[in-house]
Symmetry: C2
Subunit: 244 residues, 2 copies
């Protein structure tokens, strides 16, 4: 099940959100990547940390999480292969959230000083990185809306749509089948719902013929139905190639 392009998934993602010249790509490929493997729930970067590296997701899924004073966890965003979850650390010295893998994951770490040097020398790359963080922000905005104003059923369908579109854009999906080995309780923490309720919502989505699951494989049986049920419009993902 080895995927093509291990370190290149990151370039593929950036190509998805902007036009890169050949020389840009060459520069990006030259960035030294320190690769490491993680198991789920091993914290990568913690709230309060002052990291010296940012990382790219090569395989698996990562979540940015926050804990409330009451000890409840909120996942504020998912990150899929190609994403740069904590790129903002480049200009925000102290982390305001924790990053942890939601599945076993392979990550590539890049030194901040190397990234800064590249940004200074290559305005176009600086812009791409900026743009990447802006899309993250757009996703956060959508999540505020999702959690704040959509009911559980819609919310769940919405997040599945988002994941499927994002995974597809980096070639991690054939047809409408996504490999999502995340727990229902992680889904709950992302949606602001309890794990129990997540379970029932998934049953409802299955009953309505929108999805089917085998183990950790999610199949969007009725994609247009899922999109409709999830009140989902992909514009907030700001991809260059529009998804169906």
């Amino acid at each position: 099940m080895a995927h093509v392009s291990s370190s290149n998934v990151f370039i593929r993602k950036l190509q998805n959100i902007s036009d890169l010249t050949q020389s840009d790509i060459a520069v990006l490929e030259s960035i030294p990547l320190q690769k490491r493997e993680y198991r789920a729930n091993q914290d990568l970067v913690r709230e309060g940390d002052r990291p010296t590296h940012s990382f790219v997701v090569l395989d698996g899924m990562v979540g940015s999480t926050k804990l409330t004073g009451e000890g409840k966890r909120q996942i504020t965003s998912f990150f899929v292969p190609g994403d740069l979850p904590d790129l903002h650390g480049l200009h925000l010295s102290v982390m305001d959230c924790t990053f942890s893998p939601l599945t076993s994951a392979r990550l590539g770490f890049m030194r901040h000083d190397a990234l800064r040097a590249i940004c200074n020398q290559h305005a176009s790359i600086s812009t791409v990185f900026w743009r990447s963080t802006l899309i993250d922000a757009a996703i956060y905005r959508e999540w505020v809306t999702n959690v704040g104003r959509r009911d559980g059923y819609t919310r769940m369908a919405h997040i599945l749509c988002e994941l499927i579109v994002r995974l597809r854009s980096v070639g991690r999906i054939e047809d409408h089948v996504a490999e999502l080995p995340i727990t229902q309780s992680a889904l709950g923490d992302a949606l602001g719902l309890s794990a129990v309720h997540v379970n029932r919502l998934l049953q409802e989505l299955r009953r309505d013929g929108l999805i089917s699951t085998v183990g950790s494989r999610f199949h969007a049986v009725d994609w247009t139905g899922l999109v409709r049920a999830g009140d989902f419009q992909a514009t907030y993902l700001h991809q260059m190639t529009e998804q169906a």
Copy 2:
């Protein structure tokens, strides 16, 4: 009731989040500002638009809002004087949310091409702008958490704390009294709550001696109590000068 520094509130805000050199400031001051007045709820920029300008809030409050398919409104963030709500338009061509003033407001519009030119010539200013958008993103993250995992009472206290800190950092607050002429239903749309419930929560906060209100003036009678009740830590605002 005229405030000092009309167009300079924007520079003051940027100084709050980074070190600016005198020459940076001179450049920022040279940006042509087209000033305009708005009344509450007049849309400024709409979801789907491709704006050619970004704007700075000079007076009043602005919200970034989204509508769900069901017609429910979510405010995904508040913006106070000095803020650049749609600076992301510089690198994200099509807007994924609508900006509208929540109070009567005075705004200053800046041409994108002028901003891009400045970013190309002054790396430090480009970085400040980037950083500003990253802080917006950090606020969105906190809002996801607030809406997703805190109960109404805490949520309300939290947002009041955020507003007070942000307003204070641009000199819009004496003591702990904030002028917030926004409606309770706008507060509800920001918190993912109904206007009715907002009303009851405010009563509770008053009853508990945390705030008092006279018309649109919010007074944080017991600031530390409010901070505690709101589970509020200002680190996510990434201000250089730590607030008490």
